[in-house]
């Protein structure tokens, strides 16, 4: 069963705390993504990973960093979370150029 799994699904953090969002995929996809979704802004690309330890900034990388030490895992880290990072975060993966992007169910992060 092709799946992208995100943990946790819901998270509430205080401003200034560190946040770790985790993502796994069971399809051996090389490429993985982190997007955030905000009303009226669609899905904005934070980071893209081409493979283990091969990561590249997306359109809105400021305030975020990523880690990919295994092909099947891709983590998003927020060092000292800010209230404007309250959002829904989606992890996704794809096999290659022109192929479908598979999304996880998302993590709803609230920073208070």
């Amino acid at each position: 069963d092709m799946k992208v799994t995100q943990m946790p699904r819901y998270l509430i953090k205080r401003m200034g705390e560190n946040v770790l969002l985790e993502c796994g995929q069971d399809m051996s996809h090389e490429t993985m993504y982190w997007y955030r979704q905000d009303p009226g802004l669609g899905l904005q690309l934070i980071y893209i990973s081409y493979d283990v330890d091969s990561n590249s900034e997306g359109d809105i990388p400021k305030g975020y960093r990523v880690s990919r030490k295994k092909r099947e895992h891709f983590s998003l880290i927020l060092d000292s979370a800010k209230t404007n990072q309250t959002s829904v975060y989606f992890c996704a993966s794809s096999a290659g150029q022109g192929t479908e992007v598979f999304f996880g169910k998302g993590t709803r992060l609230t920073v208070v």
Partner: protein
């Protein structure tokens, strides 16, 4: 850089009527275009994709034709159902790249 424009933020229709959701794009590469559908509190899922100019692609009653001359990939359905109420995203991947860019999304609300 690559970009996708969806002009309608919200479309409201009565069941049984036809719908067209607009999508235009900009890229310097040969494009792959996608439509994703996201139901409430779920992950976006692929609805359609195409890279072939002037060829209609269909799935689950929805259809779209990529027109490279006008940089468009509009989504259509001849008769909407209540279950079609969702958020629809148009997305673009330029050939040779791994980055997938999404439009801001169009919310379709179908009433009885």
């Amino acid at each position: 850089g690559d970009s996708v424009t969806q002009t309608e933020g919200l479309v409201t229709l009565t069941k049984g009527l036809p719908v067209m959701l607009n999508c235009t794009y900009q890229t310097t590469y040969s494009p792959f275009l996608f439509w994703y559908v996201q139901h409430l509190n779920e992950a976006p899922k692929l609805l359609l994709k195409s890279s072939t100019d002037n060829k209609r692609t269909e799935h689950q009653g929805f259809y779209a034709t990529l027109h490279k001359s006008s940089s468009s990939f509009h989504l259509q359905k001849s008769s909407v159902q209540l279950s079609d109420s969702a958020l629809y995203f148009c997305a673009l991947r330029g050939t040779g790249g791994y980055k997938v860019v999404f439009g801001s999304g169009t919310r379709l609300l179908v009433s009885p």
